[in-house]
């Protein structure tokens, strides 16, 4: 298929629209000038100042811990949910279950955040690391479930059946045959959960307590006060980490797919 000029133009413009603001921000993070808009030559001074900003570092550490814990819990729960939806056939409450799993994907975050906070208040739970982690797990396990479910749906069941013919029980067959095959999807789901958790501002604002701000909460309160060059720097670092993670993940999934293809020629 040949790309018509119209298609080429719309694709180029679309990608330019997506990337130009980020590229500009990255370039200006190396700006030596204190004024964000005046170019004062290349410099790393804002990165240096960033690494001396203890409140920002503490928030970054908090975000990282929440993201690691909630992504891991979400990967386990989301995978279980995906297995149930694609392998359990019909069970009582299935509609409610899948409804609960899909609703958070589109629900406005203010509602999810508010409702979780009211629950924590009612339970008299101390708000901080654990409440944010639980909130993020709830949100992100739905994304994991969608990712893993789509992989399970396209997976040929003959692998599991062959494993059972060879004497595996269903649970063993699942861990021996299915899990290695859906591993890239679980990993992708984990990463998605990790990124979403790092990214979340609204739900974390509702569910965190005083003194335990996550990185987006800190950035948000800084941005409201006006643009500062340090923000350009920390944003650039986050973009770099995320891009690196995506490249690694896509390489890894390509590798594991190639391995799976050579191990099991269809």
């Amino acid at each position: 298929m040949k790309l018509s000029r119209f298609n080429l133009v719309s694709l180029t413009l679309g990608l330019a629209f997506l990337y130009l603001p980020i590229v500009i921000m990255v370039i200006y993070s190396f700006n030596d000038s204190r004024l964000v808009t005046v170019w004062g030559g290349w410099s790393l001074r804002w990165y240096r100042e960033l690494f001396q900003d203890e409140a920002m570092l503490a928030a970054a550490w908090m975000s990282l811990r929440v993201a690691l814990a909630s992504a891991t819990a979400a990967a386990v729960l989301g995978t279980l949910a995906a297995v149930a939806l694609s392998r359990a056939g019909h069970f009582r409450g299935r509609t409610l279950f899948s409804g609960m799993l899909y609703a958070p994907l589109v629900m406005p975050e203010v509602i999810t955040g508010l409702s979780l906070l009211l629950l924590f208040v009612a339970l008299n739970a101390e708000r901080g690391f654990w409440t944010v982690t639980i909130a993020h797990t709830t949100l992100t396990m739905c994304f994991v479930a969608v990712v893993v479910q789509s992989r399970l749906g396209s997976l040929d069941r003959s692998y599991e059946e062959a494993a059972m013919d060879l004497g595996c029980g269903p649970v063993e067959a699942f861990f021996q045959a299915t899990v290695p095959l859906i591993w890239p999807a679980i990993a992708a789901g984990w990463m998605l959960a990790f990124a979403l958790s790092l990214d979340d501002l609204v739900i974390a604002s509702f569910t965190t307590g005083p003194g335990s701000a996550t990185l987006p909460i800190r950035i948000y309160s800084e941005v409201r006060l006006g643009v500062k060059p340090q923000i350009n720097a920390i944003c650039t670092l986050i973009v770099a980490v995320v891009t690196l993670a995506i490249v690694i993940a896509s390489l890894a999934s390509k590798l594991s797919r190639a391995k799976a293809d050579s191990a099991a020629p269809m």
């Binding site: 694709l11 980020i22 500009i24 359990a88 958070p104 406005p108 009211l118 987006p216």
Partner: protein
């Protein structure tokens, strides 16, 4: 084979327990609390509402509690223009943004689907990377560009297109730019998924039957991409209605969207019952189209069989 499947279902059913309990506890039950608090009186206290239920006190307390339930918060929502206008503004902003998203996103998704097969994963990754990048950062990137002495005004001045810097930040234009920018991947990806699945032979057949490419698009491709359009529109419209951060950072201080109003009532006015009532009404407004969509999709699935 079906026997093997049946053996599978039993452990799979056990797998459901943990996620089911989790979602029930942390997704369903919280809504019960929202509803409950939306029906209670506001009070200056910690927590700032009068609890209504006290299950420990037995049946009498329960009936008394039901008698004490109040619809005052909902009455307030209707009687105060502020809330009604917030809802309306949110719906209008979401509708306009979704329309713009569709207009911009469709050609991009279409072009992606027309790329040579080998290039499509790369194009998809290029669309996904910004989606993985914190949306707060992406909004912030736009503040860099749109502020008074930002890059946009500098460029316009340098090109002599304007004689004085224009006001971009804190306007509705900035807010729409921010929303469209943030939600573009949510529109492009489902559209692309639908368009990439359409076999090109359909268009070739249409061409053989005498269709011009443009007619073939409107008669064949576009109708077949409607499910993708539906998914994209829903994925964008509903969250945009409740959007808080983008209007807060980019729009002016004029009229608020309902997400901002909820935030304000909750964090600034500390009126939890009214915030909960706003959430309940918002949920009702949003659930309706979702249920319609769900039903349409199920009918389509059944029709396809």
């Amino acid at each position: 084979m079906s026997g093997a499947r049946r053996i599978f279902t039993r452990p799979a059913r056990l797998a459901v327990i943990a996620p089911y309990l989790w979602m029930a506890l942390f997704f369903l039950v919280p809504f019960g609390f929202v509803v409950k608090i939306s029906l209670s009186q506001s009070a200056i206290a910690q927590p700032p509402y009068t609890p209504v239920f006290d299950l420990a006190a037995g049946w009498d307390a329960l009936t008394a509690a039901f008698a004490a339930l109040s619809l005052d918060n909902f009455r307030l929502l209707i009687s105060d223009n502020l809330y009604v206008l917030s809802y309306l503004r949110s719906l209008v902003v979401a509708a306009v943004s979704t329309a713009i998203l569709l207009l911009i996103g469709y050609p991009i998704a279409y072009a992606m689907a027309r790329l040579p097969r080998g290039w499509q994963p790369l194009a998809m990754m290029l669309v996904i990377v910004p989606f993985w990048t914190s949306f707060l950062i992406r909004i912030y990137a736009w503040i860099n560009i749109l502020q008074h002495d930002g890059l946009l005004n500098q460029t316009l001045l340098a090109l002599h297109l304007v004689s004085a810097p224009l006001v971009w930040l804190s306007t509705d234009t900035a807010m729409y730019i921010g929303i469209v920018y943030s939600y573009l991947p949510f529109m492009v990806l489902p559209l692309y998924a639908t368009l990439a699945k359409l076999p090109p032979s359909l268009n070739e057949a249409a061409a053989d039957l005498g269709c011009s490419p443009r007619r073939a698009f409107w008669l064949v491709t576009f109708p077949l991409s409607l499910p993708g359009i539906g998914a994209g529109v829903l994925l964008c419209f509903i969250p945009i209605v409740g959007e808080f951060v983008i209007p807060d950072l980019l729009a002016g201080s004029g009229s608020l969207m309902i997400g901002q109003t909820l935030w304000l009532e909750f964090f600034t006015n500390r009126d939890w019952p009214v915030a909960s009532a706003i959430a309940v009404v918002l949920l009702a407004v949003l659930l309706l189209p979702l249920m319609i969509y769900e039903r349409l999709q199920r009918r389509q699935l059944e029709g396809g069989r």
